[in-house]
């Protein structure tokens, strides 16, 4: 949209009162108007929140979710042996959710405050052909003779793949000398969750109760040198679900008027669920990793497909996050979109 000349001049005056005085001597042409707009106007009316009715025609991107199941997670992990790891996750629901709508991942513990403990075992035994590595090292030294004036005094330095990045032929030869082998991963997890329920008894008196949900999970997988991680996870859950609320009409203060109250009229029901899940994990680019999962719930004959896409700056700095696209076959199929922030991608579950 072209700005009328007086408006452009006004903008110049707003931005640069001094400069505007200089502009009085010459007319503002279309090129100048574009510059003025780009430099002084667009910057000010840009609206990254995408919530304002007035904004500059810039390309902005924002993820929004209205998920009814928001969770906060914290994890503490520690190495308890050279191949053994232990972690504990604390998961708190941030919203009460909606009793009528099941979370798309069909997690029976999604409405409970959960403590989730896991033990992992990892077996990996990579190898290096020392003779071939030596040849690479000798050639590297020939091309990059150590400086006798260096602090190390010409002492031999280590070599590594990353160090050989600038010598592609040596890098390739060194890489070929490494036998990465597959890494095997086994894990066991136990989750316990506590959730409060309120319902009305037959006399319409409010009853509060707490129920403990629990789950056990076993996982195994292999991390291949080229194709990433492939795993299978089995989970058995015992959980509790609130009954559906019904609307009841009561007399209002014994008068002629009525009031409508929404009440749950029966105690929470106990459910059991078994899940078998297959997953793949791979960092596909420097800042993107994919973690597709296919789950099946044999008792209910329901399939669930999830595709978390992780975006990260790097492993040690800044927030990680991403998007999860989901589809569940229940009730004719339902799509879901979730976002997560602060969840670090790991090669293993």
């Amino acid at each position: 949209m072209a700005l009328p000349l007086p408006a452009a001049a006004f903008l110049v005056w707003l931005a640069f009162p001094g400069a505007a005085a200089a502009q009085e001597a010459r007319p503002v042409n279309s090129l100048m108007k574009a510059d003025i707009y780009r430099e002084f106007v667009r910057r000010e009316i840009r609206d990254p929140s995408l919530s304002s009715p007035v904004s500059a025609p810039a390309v902005d991107f924002q993820l929004t979710t209205e998920s009814k199941y928001q969770k906060a997670k914290a994890m503490v992990g520690l190495r308890v042996g050279n191949d053994l790891f232990f972690d504990v996750k604390f998961i708190a629901p941030l919203s009460s959710g909606d009793a009528e709508v099941e979370p798309i991942d069909l997690d029976g513990l999604s409405k409970s405050a959960v403590v989730d403990t896991g033990v992992h075992f990892l077996a990996w035994n990579p190898r290096l052909d020392v003779g071939a590595a030596r040849e690479v090292f000798e050639e590297y030294l020939r091309r990059n003779p150590p400086s006798s004036s260096s602090a190390a005094g010409g002492r031999p330095k280590p070599i590594s793949l990353l160090l050989l990045r600038d010598e592609p032929d040596l890098w390739r030869k060194f890489l070929e000398a490494v036998e990465w082998g597959s890494a095997y991963f086994f894990a066991g997890r136990f989750k316990i969750g506590r959730q409060g329920f309120t319902y009305a008894d037959a006399d319409f008196r409010e009853v509060s109760t707490q129920k403990t949900s629990r789950a056990v999970e076993a996982a195994a997988g292999v991390l291949t040198p080229r194709f990433g991680y492939f795993g299978v996870n089995l989970e058995y859950q015992v959980y509790f679900d609130a009954a559906s609320a019904v609307e009841l009409i009561f007399p209002y203060r014994q008068g002629a008027a009525d009031q409508i109250k929404k009440m749950v009229m029966s105690p929470p029901s106990r459910g059991e669920r078994f899940k078998i899940q297959f997953e793949h994990r791979k960092a596909v680019m420097e800042h993107i990793a994919l973690n597709p999962k296919i789950s099946y719930f044999p008792g209910e004959r329901i399939a669930l497909i999830e595709l978390p896409v992780y975006l990260f700056k790097n492993a040690d700095q800044g927030l990680n996050g991403g998007v999860t696209l989901s589809w569940v076959s229940k009730c004719g199929g339902r799509f879901g979109l979730g976002i997560f922030i602060g969840t670090a991608f790991s090669l293993f579950p």
């Binding site: 190495r79 050279n82 790891f85 992992h120 990892l122 990996w124 035994n125 990579p126 290096l128 020392v130 590595a133 030596r134 090292f137 031999p156 330095k157 280590p158 070599i159 590594s160 793949l161 990353l162 160090l163 990045r165 060194f174 490494v178 990465w180 890494a183 991390l223 960092a283 680019m285 420097e286 800042h287 990793a289 990260f312 700056k313 790097n314 492993a315 040690d316 700095q317 991608f345 790991s346 090669l347 293993f348």
Partner: protein
């Protein structure tokens, strides 16, 4: 009667959060305790090779060093690039 040659202790230390990190000396796995391992060698027993391997997501940093004895001190630190792997070797003679 003492031993003909006293053993020399080589201390290898790592700074790594990755589960997929392995280090070996002369083909034998180094088992770390609190990110440190003390290895004993007979001096003048030839050249030794310290090797290490890591696989993790891009951006993961790690460090491996020999802090003792002074004559074989070494420190190597790196950040994984998009290849998400690294392996290295360091020869030392006591």
């Amino acid at each position: 009667m003492g031993r003909a040659r006293a053993e020399v202790a080589v201390i290898v230390k790592i700074k790594v959060t990755s589960e997929l990190f392995r280090a070996y000396v002369d083909g034998r796995r180094i088992l770390f305790k609190k990110s440190s391992a003390k290895l004993r060698f007979v001096p003048e027993s030839g050249e030794h090779a310290l090797m290490w391997f890591i696989r993790d997501k891009p951006g993961t940093s790690y460090q491996i060093e020999i802090t003792e004895p002074a004559k074989v001190k070494m420190s190597h630190k790196a950040v994984l690039d998009s290849s998400a792997i690294d392996a290295g070797i360091y020869w030392f003679k006591l």
